[in-house]
Amino acid sequence: MKQLEELVIAGFGGQGVLSLGMTLAYAGMIDGKEISWMPSYGPEMRGGTANCITILSDTRISSPIISTFDSAIILNQPSMDKFAERVKPGGLLLYESGNIFKPSTRTDIQLMGIPATTEAVRLKNNKTMNMIMLGAYLQLRPVVKIESVMQALAEVLPEKYHHLLDLNRQALELGAISVEFQRELIQT
Amino acid sequence: MQTDEPVTHACVPDDYDVAYHRPAALMDVNMHYCPGCAHSLVHKLLMEVVDELGIQDQTIGVAPVGCSVFAYEYMNIDMQEAAHGRACAVATAIKRLMPDKFVFTYQGDGDLAAIGIAETLHAINRGENILIVFMNNAVYGMTSGQMAPTTLPGMKTTTSPFGRDTKFYGAPMKIAELVAQLPGSSYVTRQVVNSPHGVRKTKQALLKAFDWQKQNAGTCLIEIIGNCPSNWRMTPLEASRFIDEEMVKSFPVGDIKTPDQPSLAPTPENL
């Protein structure tokens, strides 16, 4: 596992951007890491764009606010336009391909689109889109254990939603599978 | 901050007359409100009235701090953005200095009934010739759904997570009834905008209020029971129903005081 992972997650307000980052942060805590999770907040969240910076590290984190990222999970076009250039060379840019018409054309980073919205339809629950993206991300950057993510979800979700835990696990797995599928696509 | 391109209509079909169009005084921009939010609707009505009375050049509005803080981005008239709760103080000064202009405030329930109750009551007690448009959505919209003085008993908000306990926070404040007690108020009414009928009545009320202002009748207050689907955690349609089924129980709709008829609700004075 990496010493330090600096990640940005960005998209529309309703896409579960903040909870994606938060789940990852929780899982990081369970894995004994230092964490910082910094949301963009304010009324723009209402329908506008939202993003959060999540940092996982084995040592104390200095700045919770950074301008370049090891990885980015991008869920809409405006966020792609805003953040694509800010992924460090060699970094990862994972995006939801259904929502993005014009992905970055950078060649010095790993770019991968996941049709998570479409996949979510297969799970009959649009809200699982963000967990599919998380599954995909963790397949590429295993910064926390999947089990820790599941534990995090169990802690974060109120009891009455615990019946959804299984669905979330499926979503995570679907994300991982999608990555492998994309990889095959790229290779061929 | 200042775009006011005229509203254009793409294709006017032959043989048809325009029966309704977006008021010219409403800026041709996307409003930031949530889908179905009553704020936008009332902005629209206000600008219809300004258009119909032809007083765009004579009207000065005062916006509050609340979801309608950007009202001045949407209404194509001169406006001032007041500090939270102080719209009536701001409007008082404007009107006193320009008594021939039409001056209105546009305020939410947190703004008017909580932090701004002093400025509101005193402006009304002085009988300032202004119109107060009071959007009562029973919640602090902008700050994400905290309890307001008008939150219904038992209603859950982020700061009344177990439902508003009237033992702890008292009953919802009936602003319209309260200010009708003050001799300085002239026309006081409560309306809804969750149906075409309600919208028509509210617009009538607005027209009347501007008319009374012209006659220097004293302060007019129009309380509008509006929705806040986002913070009520409902769809706009559910919110409309909630207004009919719940809100109007605490906040009965209708005129409370008109200048010709000092107060429809008997008060100690007029018994």
Binding site: G47 | H9, V12, D15, D17, R22, P196, L237
Partner: protein
């Protein structure tokens, strides 16, 4: 009463036009319209909202939809009194459907 010589298509009393980029899909208009003239489209606009399109030509220009539309995106037209019967109007529904196809727009 006059007999109509040729069976000309009845022209609807009212027609509506929707500024779809400003529509937020709140469905207050669809609920208000007694003629079920309006319906939410499956497509979304640049703000990410499903917007309203015209469902049928039953509009009677009652204005209800326009009155309740919070975002003032509905224009209502009323057939001129003298022009009650006429040829088929250009299919406004189709026009609107076409306009509604989402295109990428910079935000």
């Amino acid at each position: 009463m006059e007999a109509t010589p040729t069976p000309a298509v009845r022209k609807p009393r009212g027609r509506v036009e929707i500024d779809i980029q400003k529509c937020k899909g709140c469905e207050l208009c669809t609920d208000a319209c007694k003629k079920e003239t309006l319906v939410l489209s499956d497509a979304i606009n640049i703000k990410g909202y499903h917007y309203v399109i015209v469902n049928n030509d039953a509009c009677n220009a009652c204005l209800d939809c326009a009155l309740v539309c919070p975002d003032a995106v509905i224009t209502v037209y009323k057939l001129q009194k003298s022009k009650k019967v006429n040829i088929t109007p250009p299919d406004i529904k189709e026009q609107l459907r076409a306009a509604a196809t989402p295109k990428p727009v910079p935000v």
